[in-house]
C-alpha cells in the first residue's frame, strides 16, 4: 500500500480519566485507509466507533498513539485544525438536525463563505456540491430548509460538507432513519462520490445491507479494540466472529447460516439476495 491517507496507530482514549466513571473507549487501535478506498467500521453499540472517527478531524486529540491524516499529525500541538477540517469532512448522525440557515443554498454556502472564498467561487462550489448529492441548484437553492423531507435535509447537510471539497468524507450512520427509497438513493450518491470523484469514504454503520453494498473493506470494533479486518465477503462469512461481537448479519446471510446449521453445504460468504438465491438453486441442483 502506498502511504495511507488515514493512518491510526496504537490509539487509546479514556473518558473521565481518574474518576470512578473512567471508561476506556479506545484501546490500542490501529487502522489504515488507502486513498480512494471506501471503508466501513462496524461494531456493537459502545464499541468505540464514534470516538474513533471524531479523531479524524481533530474533534478529539489523541491521548496516546498517533493519527496521521494526509501527512498531518493530529496530535501535534502545531497542527492547523482549519486545514485539517477542510480535508476531512465529518457528517454526524442525523445531520439534518444541524441545518441552521433558512434557505438551502445559504446552508450549503456557509462553509466556503467562511473560508473567505470569492463570491463567484462560493456559488460554483455550492452548485457543484448540490449537483453531487442530487439536489437541483436552480430548483432547490431558494427553498426553505424546514419544508424539506428527511432525506432531502440529509442531502443538504451532506452538500454542506462536500462544498469544502474534502479529500476524506467520514459519515456516522449515513442512512439511519431514512425510508428505503431515500436510503438507496443516498447510498448510490456516496458510491459515486467514492468511485467517480475519487473521494476517500469512511463510514460507521449498523445496517449490514449497506455495508455489504458499499464497502471495499470492513473493520470490526469491539470493546474499544479493532478486532478484525477484511472484505465484506470475509467478514460476513465468519459467523463465529459476528455472533461473538453482537453484530447482526444481512437478512439473506441469516438464511444461509440457517441452511448451513442444518447441514447443507453452503458458501455463506455470499451476501446479496441474488447470491443467496443462487446458492439455494445450487443445492436443488438447478
Amino acid at each position: 500500500m502506498t502511504q495511507p491517507i488515514v493512518n491510526v496507530e496504537n490509539l487509546s482514549h479514556v473518558y473521565m480519566h481518574g474518576t470512578p466513571l473512567e471508561h476506556r473507549a479506545l484501546d490500542q487501535v490501529s487502522i489504515q485507509v488507502a486513498e480512494g478506498e471506501c471503508l466501513a467500521i462496524i461494531g456493537h453499540t459502545g464499541s468505540g466507533k464514534s470516538t474513533l472517527i471524531q479523531h479524524f478531524n481533530g474533534l478529539i486529540r489523541p491521548q496516546s498513539g498517533t493519527v496521521i491524516i494526509n501527512g498531518m499529525d493530529v496530535s501535534s500541538p502545531k497542527i492547523d485544525i482549519r486545514t485539517l477540517r477542510r480535508q476531512v469532512g465529518l457528517v454526524f448522525q442525523n445531520p439534518e438536525d444541524q441545518l441552521f440557515e433558512k434557505l438551502v443554498g445559504d446552508d450549503v454556502a456557509y462553509g466556503p463563505f467562511r473560508m473567505g472564498l470569492p463570491l463567484e467561487e462560493v456559488r460554483r462550489r455550492v452548485q457543484w456540491a448540490m449537483d453531487l448529492v442530487g439536489l437541483s441548484f436552480q430548483e432547490m437553492k431558494d427553498r426553505p430548509t424546514f419544508a424539506l423531507s428527511g432525506g432531502q435535509k440529509r442531502k443538504v447537510a451532506l452538500a454542506g460538507v462536500l462544498s469544502l471539497q474534502p479529500k476524506v468524507l467520514v459519515l456516522d450512520e449515513p442512512t439511519a432513519g431514512l425510508d428505503p427509497r431515500s436510503r438507496h438513493e443516498l447510498l448510490e450518491r456516496i458510491r459515486r462520490l467514492n468511485r467517480e470523484e475519487k473521494l476517500t469514504v469512511i463510514f460507521v454503520s449498523h445496517n449490514m445491507e449497506e455495508v455489504a453494498k458499499l464497502a471495499d473493506r470492513v473493520y470490526v470494533m469491539a470493546n474499544g479494540k479493532s478486532v478484525c479486518e477484511g472484505t465484506p465477503r470475509q467478514i460476513f462469512g465468519n459467523q463465529e466472529l459476528l455472533r461473538q461481537h453482537h453484530i447482526g448479519t444481512p437478512e439473506s446471510v441469516d438464511i444461509l447460516y440457517r441452511l448451513r446449521e442444518q447441514g447443507y453445504s453452503i458458501d455463506a460468504s455470499a451476501f446479496l439476495p441474488e447470491e443467496t438465491a443462487m446458492e439455494i438453486l445450487k443445492l436443488m441442483n438447478r
Partner: protein, 289 residues
Amino acid sequence: MTPQPIIRVENVSFAYQVNQDQQIPVLQNVSLEVFPGEYVAIIGHNGSGKSTLSKHLNGILTPNDGDVIVNGINTREKQRIHEVRSRVGMVFQHPDNQIVATIVEDDVAFGLENIGTSAEEMKTRVDFALEAVGMSAFRHRPPHHLSGGQKQRIAIAGILAMKPQCLVMDEATSMLDSYGRQDILAVVRKLHREGMTIVTVTHHMSEVAEADRVIVMEGGKIVLEGTPREVFSHQERLRELHLDVPDASRIAHLVHSEYHEFTPDLIHNAEVVAEVNRLYVRQAEASGS
C-alpha cells in the same frame, strides 16, 4: 357479533398549515379500523402520510375533516384526551427524545405521577412494566448510559405502566442496530401474545412480516391492504411505491423464477429454510427410489 374496534378512523383528512394561504394536504379521506388484539403494520415511503396517520390514533393530531374514535371517545373531545391516551400509548423514533427523568424507574413512573396514582399502585405498575420489557435490573440506573434499544424499552415501559390497550410505534426501531431491534421486537411479540393491540409504522419489511395485517399508504391514501403474504406478493406494485419486500420474499421469488416447484410467497427466513428442506427431501426420495 363482530367485536367493536378499539380505534375507528372515519374519512379523516388532514393538512399541515404552512402559512395563511398555503396548506400541504397529508391525509385524504382515510378510513381504518383496528380491532382488539390485532397487530397492524403501516408502511409507505416518506411523505406518504403514515406517521401523520399514526399521530391521529391517540389525539396528538386531530383531523381537519372526519373523526377518530378511540373506545367510543372522539379524539376531538379535549377534556377526555387523558382517557384516550391511557388507552392508546405511543412510542416514537428517537430514543433520546422520550426520556425525561434521570433514573430509569422515575422515567417509567412519570406518566403515573401526572394522573395522580397512589405510591403503592405506582410501585406495582412500574415493577410490572419494567419486568415486561426485561429491564428490571436497570431500575436504579441513569437512562442516558443505556443503549438505544434499552432506552426504547424504557420508553415502552413508561407506556405500559399506564396499562393501555393499544401500543402505537412510530418507527420505534429505525435508529437501532439489529440487536436493539430484535430486543424491541421480542418485547412487542410477547405483549401481543398477551393480548395487547399493536400498531407499528416501520420501514423494516422483516418487521412487517410479523403483523396480522398490513396497510400501505401512498399520497395520503390507503392503497393496499391485506396479510403480509398478500401484500408482499405484489412485488411490482410495491416497487412502484418505492417499497421493499423482505429479503426472504425476494429470494423465494428469485428461486421460484428458475425452479417453479419452489413456493414464491414466503416471507420469513425460517420459511425459506423449511422450503429448501421440503424440496431437498423430495429430491432425495426421488433419486433413492
